[in-house]
Amino acid sequence: MVMDVALGEVTDGGNVVHDSRPLAIEARGLVKGFDGMLAVDGVDLAVPEGAIYGILGPNGAGKTTTIRMLLGIIDPDDGVRRIFGHDRPHDIARLIGYLPEERGLYPAMKAYEAIAFMGALRGVSLAEGKRRGRELLEEHGLGDAADKQIRQLSKGMAQTVQLLGTLVHRPKLVVFDEPFSGLDAINQGKLERLIRTLAEDGTTVIFSTHVIAHAERLCEGVAIIAGGKVPYAGSVDEARDRIPAQVRLETHADDGSWRTALPRDARREGGFWYFSLPESGIEPLLRALIEGEAGILSLSIERAGLHDAFVHIAGEAPARALDADAAADRN
């Protein structure tokens, strides 16, 4: 059954999202427990078609379980999920590409055969899959490895082969679980470019990560997940806007009537004043500073980053766990 596509206004993690695009993924109240422990507790998601969407959270937060439920690998204990309007993701398997967190290929298969096999699982004929497999390997600089067995490839190369196998059937939705894990900086850059290219071609890309930088650089929408719950799901901009921008002010005068115009949280550090941008905006403040003869030497407004937003939304403990995971990845 194809459901009516929600247009204009969709709820996403309790937030209202204004978007005119139909939804590639919609999840409401997903719940999953293992051995009496709740791994995912009421997750809501709405990912518009063509978006790059990140699921951001530390290890063990419920990212993989959420993805496995979305793809129909496991069934939720409660809640509904729809991919392109279908309740059963297997019904549209040909439209989906999936790279699991735990990479796996048959060691005795040749690289191009592995890609063809993954294509065959999604409905590409074996001959066509083999042809596309060679093409993809060539395009990604692995032409020489096409006839090598997976067991003869380096870990990074094998990972790339699996990634290409995820794309061989030209899916409309690609789901990557921790795709940057285990990749060196150069390959991370290549993967970022690939994700952008996919989105430019109209493919919806959803990936999980515990590295905020990737989400910040790539995603238009994120779901922040911690302890199995999603306290925020929406656009990256809105997440950052949840924390008031920080103002840095440098004045000629040390004191004067203008000081009363500064917000209560203003603090002085190293010759600068720091404070949150007032809700009334910057103009009334500027006027008060000028009228109070503060003698403005410099004034800058810094918007909060996604990391700050994560700390603000999820709390300090998940943020620390996230930082620790990212640091472990780098090492």
Binding site: V2, R28, G29, F34, L71, G72, I73, I74, D75, D77, D78, G79, V80, F84, G85, H86, H90, D91, I92, A93, R94, L95, I96, Y98, P100, E102, R103, G104, L105, Y106, P107, A108, M109, F117, M118, A120, L121, R122, G123, L126, Q162, G165, K172
Partner: protein, 409 residues
């Protein structure tokens, strides 16, 4: 315009074919398969060698020679009588050897107790009053034949046996029934051995899959039922390759060696149909046991665990085989009906029936029933796998109710 997000997936059979094709090729072109093919030849060679050596040793150690301690004249008469009878009675008669240093029954007893010579027994006394000394079993074995020889030796005119005219019939009711039971037995044993030997292959299959972590990729793309079906049919295909290779090798060895298989009586349904049913019942028995093994394999983390978990199933299969064997001699009985209905014993029981009874329709019915049982077993195996390994599966009633309510809202 076509909806680009309309249903698009492989059917369960297409998906199973993708899995089966990969597994079949991977197994067939692996070194392990070569060893697997050679595997059954080792016990045959070892068994043959052991049997040959054993029978040689037996021949060397066992004896059918009787020591003769009669007077010289009577000994000659006895040897002549043996000469006259051996043409008709052949190996039923004992070898005779003259014993010089024994003169009485006491001597004979002492001779044997001293473990001298290599005689089954010693004949003393006279032809009129022969005395046979030896261990109980040997005395019981030879006394009648020695009496025949002694009586022939004492006869005044030479023995002339009448020429017996013969005529043969292909079979009799009793002999046909017993011969067909032999055919049924042979079919059952072969079926059991092949299934047990080959179904074991599927055991470690999913363990390997989990080791490769590829199961996640498979589970995301196709239903678990298709993964199960594909693996089962791949193994079935591999089994048929094995059976073909072994069959052809066996035939070639027999052909070159000039051996002839001991003829079995034609089964009730005829040889062509019997072979066809044999193949079909092998397939069904294999799929049934294979799906059990596959479910077990999917739950185990290591090959060692697989072996431990599969032990009860192997024992169950043995019991089932015994049931089918017991039922074989009682066609039409309740026991046979039970054996034919219980899915795991049904292939064995029905193959035995094909050897003994001519009706075809029960086989069609049984095959349909077995196919249905295979479907149930595969479904249950896949569900078990999803629940235990993928940690997914049906929700509790309460949750399903809540979900239904949410949907309705």
């Amino acid at each position: 315009m076509d909806d680009p997000t309309a249903k698009s997936r492989l059917s369960i059979w297409q998906a199973a074919f993708v899995i089966a094709r990969r597994d079949f090729a991977a197994i067939l072109f692996s070194r392990a398969f070569l060893f697997f093919l050679l595997g059954p030849l080792f016990p045959i060679v070892v068994g043959g060698l052991a049997g040959g050596i054993g029978s040689q040793v037996q021949q060397q150690t066992s004896t059918s020679e009787i020591g003769v301690a009669l007077s010289a004249g009577e000994t000659r008469q006895l040897l002549a009588a043996r000469e006259a009878l051996v043409e008709s009675l052949g190996p039923a008669l004992p070898e005779l050897a003259r014993l010089e240093d024994v003169t009485s029954a006491e001597d004979a007893k002492a001779y044997l107790e001293a473990r001298r010579g290599n005689y089954a027994a010693i004949l003393t006394g006279s032809l009129a009053e022969p005395m046979l000394t030896g261990p109980r079993a040997q005395v019981d074995t030879w006394r009648g034949r020695i009496a025949l020889l002694a009586s022939t030796a004492r006869a005044e005119t030479p023995v002339s046996l009448p020429e017996i005219a013969t005529q043969t019939v292909a079979t009799s009711g009793a002999s046909q029934r017993s011969d067909r039971v032999r055919t049924a037995q042979a079919g059952q044993v072969l079926l059991f051995l092949l299934i047990m030997l080959l179904a074991g292959m599927v055991l470690s299959n999913l363990v390997e899959e989990k080791g490769n972590k590829i199961i996640e990729v498979l589970a995301a793309a196709i239903p678990m039922d298709a993964v199960f079906l594909g693996k089962l049919f791949a193994m079935l295909g591999v089994s048929f390759v094995g059976i073909t290779v072994w069959g052809l090798t066996g035939a070639a060895v027999m052909g070159f060696g000039g051996y002839q298989a001991q003829a079995l009586t034609e089964p009730a349904v005829g040889w062509p149909l019997f072979f066809l049913f044999g193949m079909l019942y092998f397939a069904m028995g294999y799929l049934l046991l294979g799906s059990l093994f596959l479910a077990i394999g999917s739950m185990a983390k290591t090959v060692r665990e697989v072996q431990t978990l599969s032990m009860p199933v192997t024992m169950l299969q043995l019991l089932v085989f015994f049931l089918a064997s017991y039922a074989m001699a009682r066609p039409g009985s309740t026991v046979e009906l039970v054996a034919a209905i219980f899915p795991l014993s049904s292939p064995f029981a029905m193959l035995a029936r094909a050897a003994q009874l001519e009706a075809i329709w029960p086989h069609l019915l049984a095959l349909a029933w077995q196919a249905f049982a295979v479907a149930i077993f595969v479904k249950a195996g896949a569900a078990l796998f999803r629940r235990r390994v993928m940690q997914s599966g049906p929700n509790s009633k309460r949750r399903r109710w809540r979900r239904g309510k949410a949907r309705a809202a």
